[in-house]
């Protein structure tokens, strides 16, 4: 375990109230993780401890900030495609699954969009490798799927962060895997699928 150094300006522990306007890093607020296309939710509907969510999201904000500083991704936008998860009324979320982690902001799903507004598969792989090499995380999944009935494959990166305690005393497990349609393709390895 090690103490993660937190910018006091954005430390959620110091915030009196956590709202969707709470800023986690320069230009990154909680709202960034709420209005994703795959999970359009309001912070009021989130039942989990909001301070805990904000602490978990702080690590994601750091991830994004570090990526923005990398000129390799200058012409690409990293978007949150699946943010905080709020299950349906009668839905039972599988414990310790991705959606369970998303409820508390531990897991967030990202996509890399090029200037044409399309998912850039090659750059998504590059980003996954960059995060794997230079960033902290518990688990990083390079996820491909062919869910879209239009036939356009999709590619995204699922990043799972550890649960951040108030002390920010955390350890990153740094596990990686590649999945296709939720089926495991490779563990301990990122594999670029040419779909």
């Amino acid at each position: 375990m090690s103490i993660y150094l937190v910018d006091p300006s954005y430390n959620p522990n110091f915030a009196s109230d956590i709202t969707n306007k709470t800023v986690l890093a320069q230009g990154i607020s909680v709202a960034k993780f709420l209005g994703a296309r795959g999970s359009r939710n309001q912070f009021e509907r989130v039942s989990a401890d909001k301070k805990q969510i904000a602490r978990n999201l702080y690590l994601h904000a750091e991830l994004l900030k570090k990526t923005t500083a990398n000129s390799d991704f200058d012409d690409f936008r990293i978007i949150v495609s699946e943010g905080i998860y709020v299950p349906a009324i009668n839905e039972s979320v599988t414990p310790d699954g991705i959606n369970d982690y998303r409820q508390t902001g531990k897991a967030i799903v990202y996509k890399v969009i090029n200037t044409k507004g399309e998912v850039d598969y090659s750059k998504t792989y590059d980003l996954a490798v960059y995060w794997k090499d230079y960033c902290d995380y518990d688990k990083l999944i390079l996820d491909y799927d062919t869910y879209d009935p239009s036939g356009i494959p999709s590619c995204q990166i699922v990043v799972v962060m550890p649960t951040v305690p108030e002390s920010f005393d955390i350890q990153f497990l740094r596990r990686i895997e590649t999945t296709f349609n939720t089926n495991l393709q490779s563990s301990n390895e990122l594999v670029e699928l040419l779909l």
Partner: protein
């Protein structure tokens, strides 16, 4: 010379000639007196700016589009020497005026990547790495001949201190994932030229402090699967220009301290029950008791009857009685069991006299048939005035019920209450329980919202791979003190 090293003589005196020789101004005079130029990238090469020669192209911060939002600009043609006039400062700010044929542009760039670029095709790129603040002291007019996209990843607040007028010549679509609150402190006027359809999947509540009015020039239908209650503290008027039919399958009750039912033709029918009260007057031309099967009326009459009776068991006064078991006074009696002594003994006839019961009495039978149960039961079941069978919708558990179709509960196994987008489906499928829910995925596939290949275990060829070890990078940064132009292109971790 205007540099800070002009005072060389003085410096030699202070620090010594040897030190000055190693730090001082180059004797050749071709080097920068300040020692800050050339930059590392220009070592052992021409000092002409690389952008001017087209070796590099200055670019502004341009961080991709968004899903479905393209900010794609045409590629910029590399500059040709000597058309590009470049001015670059120490920290990296630059100003370029490029006359390269086919690539004419102007760019003003901050070292951070922010700046303004006027491209060869006439496009303008305004880029801010951090905040962008726009302040206009006077009026502000924006005219766009093409399309526009606005994407805010955070909150957007718009405040208009004057009027806010929006004119849409096409359709106006609003998709709100959360709540929508509208507060109108004045009047709210809505005019719809064609139809208005509203689907509310929860409850609806309306509060009106003063009056409410609805004018419908066509028909009005109101269906309620649950109860329909209408409470009015004042008067209620229900008026129909034609018929008014009210039926109830179980019970229909109308009560008031004063109740009036008036009609030119009126029918109150029932197989049993009570009509009347202590002080109720009955008017009519005929009264018929229910027959006992032998053709005799089985009706009992209690109290005082002033009029004529074909038979009286007990009568205070009988003008004439065929048979009177007890009469205080009888002008004439065919047979009497008792007679008061004051009036003298009544003639007792062993053989009673049968009097005509129709003196001035003329029998006027009822116009309508007798309302027996044989008549009333089918009347309630099948006639125009019969009880209407009401079924608004089947149970919610029925997949064909209207509520199930509206809520799509059965379609998506309670995971969605509307048709989801592919992004929302992808989000749900991250849970293995949902992924393995065949009803859920099957209906999504059937609805054309999910590809039938969703469960395909593998596809495509394998491209690059990267293990958990840190990747090797190629030629990003030179190692040691090698000059930039002689970068070793070594691998390093």
């Amino acid at each position: 010379m205007t540099t800070k090293k002009d005072n060389i003589t003085k410096r030699i005196k202070v620090i010594g000639e040897g030190t000055e020789e190693t730090q001082g101004i180059s004797r050749t005079g071709f080097s920068d007196a300040s020692g800050e130029y050339p930059k590392q990238d220009y070592f052992f090469g021409s000092s002409t700016n690389k952008s001017a020669k087209g070796e590099t192209t200055s670019k502004l911060y341009n961080s991709g589009g968004d899903i479905g939002v393209s900010i794609d600009l045409p590629d910029q043609k590399p500059s040709q020497y000597p058309y590009n006039q470049v001015e670059q400062t120490l920290s990296g700010h630059s100003w370029e005026i490029d006359d390269t044929p086919g690539g004419e542009r102007m760019i003003m760039k901050h070292r951070s990547g922010s700046g303004l670029e006027l491209r060869a095709d006439g496009s303008i790129l305004f880029s801010a790495v951090n905040k962008k603040v726009e302040v206009t002291g006077g009026d502000h007019t924006v005219i766009v001949e093409g399309e526009g996209n606005l994407v805010y990843k955070g909150n957007l607040n718009v405040r208009v201190t004057g009027d806010y007028n929006v004119t849409v010549d096409g359709n106006y679509s609003l998709d709100v994932a959360g709540n929508k609150d509208i507060a109108v402190h004045g009047s709210y006027i809505k005019e719809v030229d064609k139809n208005e359809n509203k689907v509310i999947k929860g409850s609806k509540s309306t509060k009106v402090v003063k009056n409410s009015s609805a004018i419908v020039l066509g028909n009005t239908d109101q269906f309620s699967k649950g109860n329909l209650r209408s409470w009015t503290q004042g008067d209620v008027e229900i008026t129909s220009g034609k018929s008014l039919v009210t039926t109830a399958e179980t019970e229909w009750a109308a009560s008031s301290k004063v109740t009036n039912i008036t009609g030119l033709i009126i029918s109150v029918l029932g197989t049993k029950g009570t009509i009347g009260g202590t002080l109720v007057d009955h008017y009519g031309k005929a009264y018929s008791g229910s027959p006992d099967g032998a053709g005799n009326g089985g009706t009992s009459f209690y109290g005082t009857l002033v009029g004529r009776a074909a038979e009286a068991i007990t009568s205070d006064f009988a003008n004439k009685a065929g048979t009177s078991h007890h009469a205080k006074w009888a002008d004439e009696a065919g047979q009497a069991q008792k007679a008061n002594a004051e009036t003298g003994p009544s003639p007792f006839a062993k053989d009673p006299i049968k009097y005509e019961t129709i003196f001035p009495f003329i029998e006027t039978p009822p116009d309508a048939p007798e309302p027996t149960s044989e008549l009333i039961v089918p009347h309630l079941a099948v006639s125009n005035f019969g009880i209407r069978k009401v079924v608004i919708d089947t149970d919610v558990d029925d997949p064909n019920s209207l509520v199930a179709k509206i809520l799509k509960t059965d379609d998506y196994d309670n995971l969605f209450d509307r048709d989801p987008t592919i992004e929302e489906i992808r989000s749900k499928l991250r849970d293995e329980a949902n992924y393995n829910n065949n009803k859920f995925t099957g209906n999504l596939v059937a609805a054309g919202l999910l590809s039938s290949d969703y469960a395909k275990a593998t596809d495509g060829e394998i491209g690059r791979t990267s293990s958990r070890k840190k990747s090797k990078k190629f030629g990003i940064k030179s190692l040691g003190n090698n000059p930039a132009d002689l970068k070793s292109k070594r691998f390093f971790i």
